[in-house]
Amino acid sequence: MDFELTSEHLLFRESVASFVKKEHSFNRLRALKDDPWGYSKDVWKKMAELGWMGLIYPEEYGGLGLDFTFVMVLLEEFGRGLLPEPWISTVLLGGNLVLAGGMEAQKEEIIPAIVAGDLFVTAAYLEDGGRYDLNFCATSARQKNGGFSLSGRKIFVLDGCSADRFIVTARTSGATSDTDGLTLFIIPRGASGVEITPLKTMDGRNTCILDLKDVSVSESDIVGKKDSGYPLLADIIDQATTGVCAEMVGGMDASLEMTVRYLSERVQFGKPIGSFQALQHKAADMFIQKELASSVVCYAVASIDEKTEERTLAVSTAKAKCSSAYPEVTKTAIQLFGAMGFTNEADIGFFLKRAKVTEVLFGDADHHLARVAAMKGY
């Protein structure tokens, strides 16, 4: 077991960090708060120019073909700065689904466009009443005129307000909670019967409710095999979950760093408050939680890179840990910042909100704990 990064990974970290520092700031987040997208296409294009959209995609589609550890490095740095650009939804969800399950024509149309920074794709799979279960799907795909007619509602579609394409789960057979019978379809934003209701999250990012009313799609819009969308979706969601875990680790690290700085600078009773034992011990607990999360995320990333049999267990273990650690770390940070932590004038509050959003994104701690128990065989 070895968690050392190569010099390539370390160099990449430096370049991502300096990009984030140059192109991004917390004041940018303040400015984007009421923006319908919550991010900027300019920054996105610059990222694309650096090749980051194709980071893990094969070279034949214009990608760099790098390993998943690069994803970890990239997203940790995004997490440190809270960069809001939709890399997870477009690259890890949308593009990855097409790459893993799509027909050659779909890949050729979509992947290079993503790599170029010209196309936003996302996945739409959550439904009301299903909580975090990917198999829960009441959206129906009925055969009609040689194709399918889709009707149903998806919620919290990640970056859905700005997506050009949606990869949607719909039921071609089976009952609402069956694992079998799910099919993935690509739907363009402008398709007839598609309605988008914006749903901003507390960290200022965009999600949407996606209503489908008799949306017509053809066989050629299917990603993967009919009735067998679940394993494909589950595998890709596992990867995206690991990505968000890396982002959470970066967020914990930045929260801790900001808190330590504040504790060292803020003076009360004639000394820096960071010299008070009770506050020191809370900072120590933040550090411990961050370290634990970081290690287990490394394990999940390496498991994905090596395609081990335990990777799904590793991912759920990582998300369960991050979904409990990140909120704890940021709550403690807010507490240690005192009244100042409760204002929008301090930056630390951004991390509290992002922690809450990422806590539930792709399933909260309890959801993943139940999976861990099942996979551990009890």
Partner: protein, 394 residues
């Protein structure tokens, strides 16, 4: 000991339940979980409604405008009030919960007669000017200066974290009137008309995107000498008493009871694998744990409250209620977000989601402040250790 009600008390309980059910405006109830941001206009309106009913001050004698309730009636009243979803009022907490007992103990007869009736009726709204940018936990380091010139104090300096400063008619504040001795020794307690020339106010935006508190700047503000409470340079002791009242008032009893009910309702509405989430064994156990802690705290609160006479200082016991109450309320609102699952990430109030989601997320953010304002949980634990347990100070 006594826990059950007489028939009269049961009737009173029913009366309270009924009155609040019929008279609490929906717009107020909806804001309870996000309580500390309740619109000031709504607060004053609700304050005045309660005053007209004679119920604004359950523990005060009738001749003062209170309800003159017995201790059991107070319990029944407060419990019913809380469960109705009606919020604690900042207008009441500051004026009746904190300043009135203080004026009864330290104020002149003239001050009592001039200020108390308007506080009770809700005619005047008060704010509290204690904290400064460099004097938070270390309150005694405050620097805002008041120099006596003839019959007036001239006040210069800056206060911060003041709720409703941009709405209040009056402020009670701590000022430095002597810098020569120990820092606790040169502090005085003043009542200041917020319309006085020289006062500038800047609202501060909180994590909720609301502006629930302000900075207030004093530039040669003139305050009549008769508005000094107690003796000059003896304000620290008065402030100590007042902070104990504040801690008791800071105990979020109403929010707690209402929040537990809200979690339950949300878990009943939320479907999880084909059943209400409330039937999930793991969720049930979590909720029951919080219910046990809430009940334990509730009984402790009333045990301490019933030992208090009107106007008496609550003592350091109030500290531990504030610590545990704040932390427990945060745990309850954590579970409330857990109940609504993916909706926990939502923020803006869109029709599609209904008000429960916005209320839950907003209340959750708001609850983070409960363990810092009015003295952080860290400061309170030190108070418990040194003043209740008598552990050695540094």
């Amino acid at each position: 000991m006594k826990v059950s009600y007489s028939q009269d008390e049961q009737r009173f309980q029913e009366e309270v339940r009924k009155w609040f059910g019929e008279n609490t405006p929906a717009e107020i109830r909806d804001q309870t979980l996000g309580g500390s941001t309740l619109d000031p206009d709504l607060q004053v309106k609700w304050h005045q409604t309660l005053f007209e009913k004679g119920w604004i001050a359950p523990e005060f004698p009738r001749e003062m405008g209170g309800a003159g309730f017995s201790e059991t009636e107070q319990f029944i009243f407060n419990y019913g009030y809380s469960l109705s979803g009606a919020p604690r009022l900042k207008t009441k907490g500051l004026s009746l919960g904190m300043l009135t007992p203080l004026l009864l103990q330290f104020g002149t007869k003239e001050q009592q007669e001039h200020f108390i009736p308007d506080m009770i009726s809700g005619k005047t709204v008060w704010c509290q000017g204690f904290s400064e940018p460099e004097a938070g936990s270390d309150l005694a380091s405050l620097k805002t200066k008041a120099s006596l010139e003839g019959e007036e104090f001239i006040v210069n300096g800056q206060k911060t974290w003041i709720s409703m400063a941009d709405y209040a008619d009056w402020m009670f504040m701590l000022v430095r009137t002597d810098s020569s001795g120990k820092k606790q020794e040169g502090i005085s307690f003043l009542l200041v008309d917020m319309k006085s020339p020289g006062i500038t106010i800047r609202a501060i935006e909180a994590l909720t995107d609301h502006k629930p508190f302000c900075e207030v700047f004093f530039d040669n503000v003139r305050v009549p000498k008769k508005n000094l409470v107690g003796k000059i340079n003896e304000g620290w002791k008065i402030a100590g008493t007042l902070l104990e009242h504040e801690r008791l008032n800071a105990f979020p009893i109403g929010e707690l009871l209402y929040a537990i009910e809200t979690v339950r309702k949300n878990a009943e509405k939320t479907r999880y694998r084909g059943k209400p989430l409330l039937q999930d064994e793991v969720f049930r156990r979590k909720l029951a744990t919080l219910e046990v802690d809430c009940d334990s705290l509730l009984y402790t609160f009333f045990r301490i409250l019933s030992q208090l006479k009107i106007g008496a200082a609550p003592g350091p016991g109030a500290s531990f209620l504030k610590i545990y109450g704040g932390e427990l309320y945060q745990r309850v609102l954590d579970l409330n977000l857990e109940a609504i699952g993916p909706y926990a990430q939502s923020w803006y109030n869109i029709e599609e989601l209904g008000n429960a989601v916005h209320q839950a997320t907003m209340g959750w953010i708001n609850s983070r402040s409960l363990t810092t304002w009015g003295g952080s949980s860290e400061i309170q634990r030190t108070i418990v250790a040194t003043r209740i347990l008598n552990l050695p100070r540094k």
